[in-house]
Amino acid sequence: MVDKIIIENLSLQYSDGTESLRNINLGIHEKAVTVLFGPAGGGKSTLLRCLNRLNDLTEVRASAGRILIDGENVLDPSTDVIALRRKVGMVFARPVVLPMSIRENLTYGLELEGEKRRSKLDEAVERSLKLAALWDEVKDRLDDPAIALSGGQQQRLCLARSLALQPEIILLDEPTSGLDPISTGKVESALQELKKEYTIILVPHSVQQAARTADYAAFFLQGDLIEYSEGKTLFTAPKEKRTEDYVTGRFG
């Protein structure tokens, strides 16, 4: 397995002192689902937002360390963050569709970089919707407002929207936290398909989801990485007592 992302000695503290990361070292494998889990406030979302530099929008007091994606340190100030965010797609906890049609949501990112050719855009719309398992449900109403979709459909649209940019890495921050079990199942099975082509990092909304989806799993507690291993090892035979306590539901 190749490490797509190598996180070295990453530390971060927000200005308001809320969440932080302490000296994280982690290698994330290519074309697999890596799950970051643990109680709230553990630093999982913070770590995700470092990977696509979305933390640039937040007031960060101090940060240190490196994140190498394909060997390049993306935390370096000279990094082209626009290119980085195209390479590293993100899906948020609450489905946020942009106030435009389904089609426009999908072509938004491509049009930003100047793609105007209708054939290219149509192709991207169809491809990304199929990958997100939404094509059959919306193919006849692509010009309807995206807000008219159900919550589950909106979240898959958000997934498709990231996929339209043909990223290499997809970050998902509790993508199913607001969804019903059926919609959750659809998102999870889409991820199982996607991992053949993409490197996926998922913050799950429950331990059960973590166990269901993880090829690799990392357990975070209050800004520390406690344990990291293959999913089946971590959920059946954790080495750390704290991991075991959390996985078996003794706290958290």
């Binding site: 696509n52 979305l54 929008l57 626009i82 290119a83 965010r85 195209r86 797609g89 993100m90 948020f92 609450r94 946020v96 942009l98 106030p99 435009m100 938004y108 990112g109 930003l112 970089e113 407002p145 995206a146 807000i147 958000c158 929207r161 990231s162 940019l165």
Partner: protein, 287 residues
């Protein structure tokens, strides 16, 4: 005996509501009365000659065309300066400015700008635009003076409607590889536009109706012709109304009220447009 307090509470409530309702009606009455009175008094004056003709016989007869055209010029002139400046300032304050002492000073300045009496703007305009910059008593000087007066309204309503666009749209847009400016132009401005337009119209409406700021800067007592360039002075409806109401003896009253009616219709039409834009946008809004 136990029921008495309940009855009292109901009675108090009913009295309270009656009082509040009466007060609410009381606020509507003066508005309705003013509009009706001006309509009744002014309507007989309205004719094609009144709207499209020049005043004659010492303004005691004829039309008010130069004043109507002048007010349109001043409103457009004010828009040219205040709209781009106001929207740009609002974008800066809402999207770019961090909470620093500088931005706090800017905000306080804007709030205080809104509280300055309009005649003070007039005096300031006289000093800066008419005399110092040597624009003379002109449409240009008057428009600039009105622009400064209008800016706080435009900036604060525009900033408010920019801020009301959900933060999540910005985050998503950035995460899709948009620059900040692309996000503002394609998402934030588009969604905030109806609110911004409403503020712009309300600000310009106030500019159209003001007398004091143009008194020293651009308004003419009487002009036998239409202004030919931005450096000419102009007649304007509010000032004309002031002139014919106080400065001209033996003025026919219906011309005064006719002028007031035209000004009122001008301003209320702008108000109506703002209301239509706002309600349409609300119906179409997707968040």
């Amino acid at each position: 005996m136990k029921r008495t307090p309940t009855i009292n509470r109901h009675l108090t409530q009913r009295l309270g509501f009656t009082f509040i309702t009466l007060m609410a009606i009381a606020t509507v009455l003066p508005i309705v009365a003013t509009v009706l009175y001006i309509l009744v008094q002014g309507a007989p004056a309205i004719s094609l000659e009144f709207l499209a003709g020049f005043p004659h016989d010492g303004m005691r007869a004829g039309g008010i065309l130069p004043a109507i055209i002048g007010t349109i010029y001043l409103t457009v002139g004010t828009a040219i300066f205040s709209v781009p400046l106001g929207i740009a300032a609002a974008i800066y304050l809402s999207e770019y400015a961090a909470d620093t002492p500088l931005t706090r000073i800017i905000r306080i300045a804007i709030i205080n700008l809104a509280g300055i009496p309009s005649v003070v703007y007039g005096l300031f305009g006289l000093g800066l635009f008419v005399l110092f910059l040597n624009f003379g008593t002109s449409i240009l000087a008057a428009s600039l003076t009105l622009s400064i007066m209008t800016l706080p309204v435009i900036i604060s309503t525009a900033e408010e409607s920019l801020r009301s666009v959900p933060q999540a749209f910005r985050t998503v847009s950035i995460s899709l590889g948009a620059t900040r400016w692309q996000t503002i132009r394609r998402i934030v401005l588009k969604e905030a536009l109806p609110g911004i337009l409403t503020g712009v119209i309300l600000g310009l409406e106030r500019a159209a109706g003001e007398t004091a700021p143009i008194l020293f800067t651009g308004a003419a007592f009487f002009l036998p012709r239409l202004p030919g360039s931005p450096f000419d002075a102009t007649m304007a409806l509010p000032y004309h109304l002031f002139v014919i109401s106080t400065q001209v003896p033996e003025m026919p009253i219906k011309i005064q009220y006719g002028t007031a009616l035209v000004l009122l219709v001008f301003v209320l039409t702008m108000n109506l447009i703002a209301t239509v834009i706002r309600s349409r946008a609300r119906a179409k809004r997707q968040w």
